[in-house]
Amino acid sequence: MSFSLFMQHLTNGISLGSLYALIAIGYTMVYGILRLINFAHGEIFMMSLYFAFYGVAIFAMPWYVSFIVTVIITCMLGMLVERAAYKTLRDSPRITVMVSAIGASFFLQNLAVVLFGGRPKAFPTVQIFTDVIKIGTVSLQRLTLIIPVATIMLLYSLLYLVNKTKTGMAMRAVSKDHETARLMGVDVNRTITITFGIGSILAAFGGIMWGMKFPQIQPFMGVMPGLKCFIAAVIGGVGNIYGAVIGGFILGIGEIMLVAMLPQLTGYRDAFAFVLLIVILLLKPTGIMGEKISEKV
């Protein structure tokens, strides 16, 4: 493989990894705070693509307006799902909530079929993002560079929010101990809702960029990325934001490189994530950045 081809694959892998990372954060944050896998997260991602599509194609908004509206509506959708499917079950056994999460996922998939139709639609691409540029001998879409840069900016904002603000402090406290957080005057329900909102905002950004990279949308498109990003979160150590990012990049780069190096395995592209998951669960079940689970008195 020539150097320029390798670079091309690598940049591709990095941008796919960025998208995985953005979605994986949503899983990991919700898990961190509720010890719940939000199975509807992939569907929230899928919905965001439809919102952006409708904004541009039906309501004829300029792309930037449509994208901003998409982020806001997706955020609200995420919070709504939390209110409807999880908040009501706050004191129920965890298995009940999990079933509710799976239910929410199916509900959104089928809602999308009813609302948007099952036939795939072409996501509106934006010329300035999809232009092909050449850096040396490497030619790539401008998007391939924009995605990682946008991801880094989003990550930076997220880490600032989580580590430096009062809301972030409340989120970290709630993730440790709901009861004590409540005793300190923290509104636990509100903090959880905010967490879902933030995860959904990141999923919306990921969705929009995903749509421009792979411009075909359909109601079940959230399933596979959702599963893979869940795996990315597990690989990195579920509950840990840095872990989700690392897991996302490992998965994205690994997947692209596998196909690039061994083209005969192209058909197994999606299987790569699951093989990696099995390996990680065997070698380090808590994930790369996962905290040791120790019982304290």
Partner: protein, 237 residues
């Protein structure tokens, strides 16, 4: 200040409290002693709304507490130092203290209070940026007390602050409780270490399997033969 009347709390079919009546007057140190499983922690949990009362009433400054949500207790001036410290191990010492003042908006006063806590617990100042999970048990207890004080409580409730601590540190904790009390904070203290608790208490209650069996002043109970036998580890004669 705080009045509990005929309070019953049950977990499923198990009755944890079978109608207790208890009164905490403003400016006093009141202690509730008793063996494991007597219902001491349940009493505190019921006050802050973490355990649901089946019947009876809890009023605080004339206000019905049974209708209040847990998160609003600190706003009313009631703060609990929970059993087992329960510091946020993933937060720094400073953040743990700041979360104690979570509901407060008076940034300037919060800074002043932070200085006050650091004066009260110089060890915490040395460890400002350390994660709370890395502190020793005694330091974590001090952090838990400091965190509670950051909410500027009028009524500070402590659930077994001496649990699992070395005797020297227990002494320090009790000195600090006295110090806090001097600053005008009313204290409701739950202890297994009956001796230490009764020594500083104005009023004391003994709880046995969900019922209050003895009440009196701290010094009265210290002299009480039955208490000596059951809780103070001294035999007759």
């Amino acid at each position: 200040m705080l009045k509990i009347e005929n309070l019953c709390v049950a977990y499923g079919y198990v009755e944890a409290l079978k109608g207790i009546t208890l009164n905490v007057e403003e400016g006093k140190i009141v202690t509730l002693i008793g063996a494991n499983g007597a219902g001491k922690s349940t009493t505190l949990k019921a006050i802050v709304g973490l355990a649901k009362a089946k019947s009876g009433s809890i009023t605080y400054q004339g206000k019905n507490l049974l209708q209040e949500e847990t998160k609003n207790m600190v706003r009313n001036g009631i703060t609990l130092v929970p059993e087992g410290r329960r510091v946020f191990s993933n937060l720094s010492v400073l953040e743990n203290l700041k979360i104690g003042a979570f509901y407060r908006k008076d940034t300037k006063k919060i800074e002043e209070d932070l200085e006050w806590i650091y004066e009260l617990f110089p060890k915490l100042k040395e460890r400002t940026w350390q994660q709370a999970g890395t502190l020793s048990g005694g330091e974590q207890q001090m952090l838990a007390v400091g965190r509670a004080l950051m909410s500027r409580p009028k009524l500070l409730m402590m659930d077994e602050p001496s649990l699992g601590l070395a005797p020297l540190i227990v002494k320090e904790i009790f000195n600090i409780i006295k110090e806090i009390h001097k600053q005008g904070v009313t204290i409701l203290l739950i202890e297994q270490n009956a001796n230490a608790a009764l020594k500083i208490a104005d009023e004391a209650y003994v709880l046995e399997t969900g019922t209050i069996t003895i009440k009196g002043t701290g010094s009265e109970l210290l002299k009480d033969d039955e208490i000596k036998k059951a809780y103070l580890g001294e035999s007759h004669g």
